[in-house]
Amino acid sequence: MNNNTADKFILLFLRLVTYAIVLVVGYILFDIIRNGFSALNWQFVSSFPRRSGAAGGIFPAIVGTFYLVVGTIAVSLPLGIGGAIYLAEYAEQNRFNSLIRLAIITLAGVPSIVFGLFGLGIFVLFFGFGPSILAGSLTLACMVLPTIIVASEESLRAVPKGFRDASLALGATKWGMIRTNVLPYSLSGMITGAILGIGRAAGETAPILLTVAAFYLPRLPKSVFDQVMALPYHLYILATQHPEAERIRHMQYGTALILLLLVLGLSLGAILLRTHSRKKFRW
């Protein structure tokens, strides 16, 4: 067998498969952009829905998603970064710390609907928050925590040991050293992790299904104990349960497009930030 021809063939096949995937991704984006573009106008993103979502806009859903994301980050970012600092800088190789790592891996693998059940059981029922932004954000925070911890820990470990040694040699305390010589350089990695976390929190439906989401609210939420509309849930209901589903395709696509733009924008931002900081900190 002629090795060269066989090799070229295999190479071609690999290339084909890879670019087939690229094409599929491209087509999905193309389909949603093409069909959703016509629905996008200022009115769509700034007005309230009318005729239960068949007309008007999706402003409250955008606001709701925004509130949920803010709540999620407010809880998970400090806990996540704190936990990452502990794991990267303080933790020895003992049983307790292995347990922590096991817990993080476990959390990362829990299905999103199980988070929804958990949120329902503890935040909505046990703590009595009822379906609310509070319950939804706390649930999403639990879901997003592993992402933030892992990304933050990676960025901390990327800081060269020399930075730490230099500071300690000059007499700094451990926390002082971390604060001045490690954190500033790992910041961009942590922000990347936070952005990835935000993206996930904004796009998930299952955890908010049981803890906060409503389809048609006449007013914006006034407190953290209110229910809220959210983009992913809005899309789901518009597409499967709305009486005029066939006729409001453009509303569905418009909602999908807004959600997609939000999530992709965040993804792209994270990617750019990562590339930029990689170039900036060449060590």
Partner: protein, 295 residues
């Protein structure tokens, strides 16, 4: 108090605080198990866990409610198996291409695409599946409806592919240069090296990646809820409708009376999902650790 003493206390305090932050993960995991069991518990006494082994899932009935999770497990299993059949070959091949063959410029172009795929929300993919993939499946196979296990599997593979690609790529890249160079030095071509040396060496990492991918797929809710037809039947045909465990919870939880037997049964499904994904995770980690590829 002297300045150095203050700093010392601050330091100790920070360590405690940070350890507390890290421990919240452990706390949350314990709480998840606890609260799921709390809501599901009473089912074990009335009507008893054996009811979950029934062959049918008929939670609302004037005759006799049946809470057998068999059809649901089979639905999840079928959809997962089909998805993996599609995902694994594609992911491994693409990972090989990206890790070993693509030029650096090409890599910079391809990797964002994979990340974009990974960040598409599942409800958007489900929506796309409903409008594009389901009619496609229906037309291709001449079916009466496109809401099938196969449609769900195709969407799930779109979700699992990025996960498995990036983990497999990591595994391939961490194969030591010495192995690759030795093979090349002995006269093997680049491709021969890839398939006979690098790939086998990276196999544990790839296996772990596949297990994590399976976990991801089993746990997926929205996309399957929208396109699999949600029929609770035991079947092995990819072209029939099935009902997954996740979709069952999402669909039925909304209107079930709090605290009812049906409600508890749904929480039991949640527990089973949790245990399955937990087990997959553990095994994957064991595999990675055993072959020294822990990240």
């Amino acid at each position: 108090m002297s300045r150095s003493r203050k700093l010392f206390i601050t330091d100790k305090l920070m360590r405690l605080l940070l350890m507390g932050a890290a421990s919240t993960s452990v706390l949350v995991v314990c709480l998840i198990f606890l609260f799921l069991l709390k809501e599901a518990g009473p089912f074990a006494f009335n009507p008893g866990l054996g009811k979950l082994l029934d062959s049918q899932w008929i939670p609302v009935s004037f005759q006799q409610e049946r809470f057998g999770i068999g059809p649901l497990l089979s639905g999840s299993a079928l959809v997962t198996a089909l998805a993996m059949l599609v995902t694994v070959p594609i992911s491994v091949l693409v990972a090989i291409y990206i890790a070993e063959i693509a030029r650096p410029g090409e890599r910079e172009f391809l990797k964002p695409f994979i990340e974009i795929l990974a960040s598409i929300p599942s409800v958007v993919l489900g929506f796309f599946g409903l409008l594009v993939v389901a009619p496609l499946v229906k037309a291709t196979f001449g079916l009466s409806t496109g809401l099938t296990a196969l449609t769900g599997a195709l969407l799930l593979s779109l979700m699992a592919i990025p996960t498995i690609i990036s983990l497999s790529e990591d595994a391939l890249v961490s194969v030591p240069y010495s192995l690759k160079n030795a093979s090349l030095a002995l006269g093997a071509s680049h491709l021969q090296t890839i398939f006979r040396v690098t790939l086998p060496a990276a196999l544990p990492g790839i296996v772990a990646a596949v297990m994590l991918g399976i976990g991801r797929v089993i746990g997926e809710t929205m996309a399957v809820l929208m396109v699999t037809g949600n029929a609770a039947i035991l079947t092995a045909s990819p072209l029939s409708s099935v009902r997954t465990m996740t979709a069952t919870i999402a669909a039925e939880m909304g209107e079930v009376p709090f605290g009812s037997v049906h409600y508890q049964a749904l929480f039991w499904i949640g527990i089973i999902l949790l245990v399955i994904t937990f087990a997959l995770n553990i095994v994957a980690q064991r595999v990675l650790k055993k072959y020294g590829m822990m990240k």
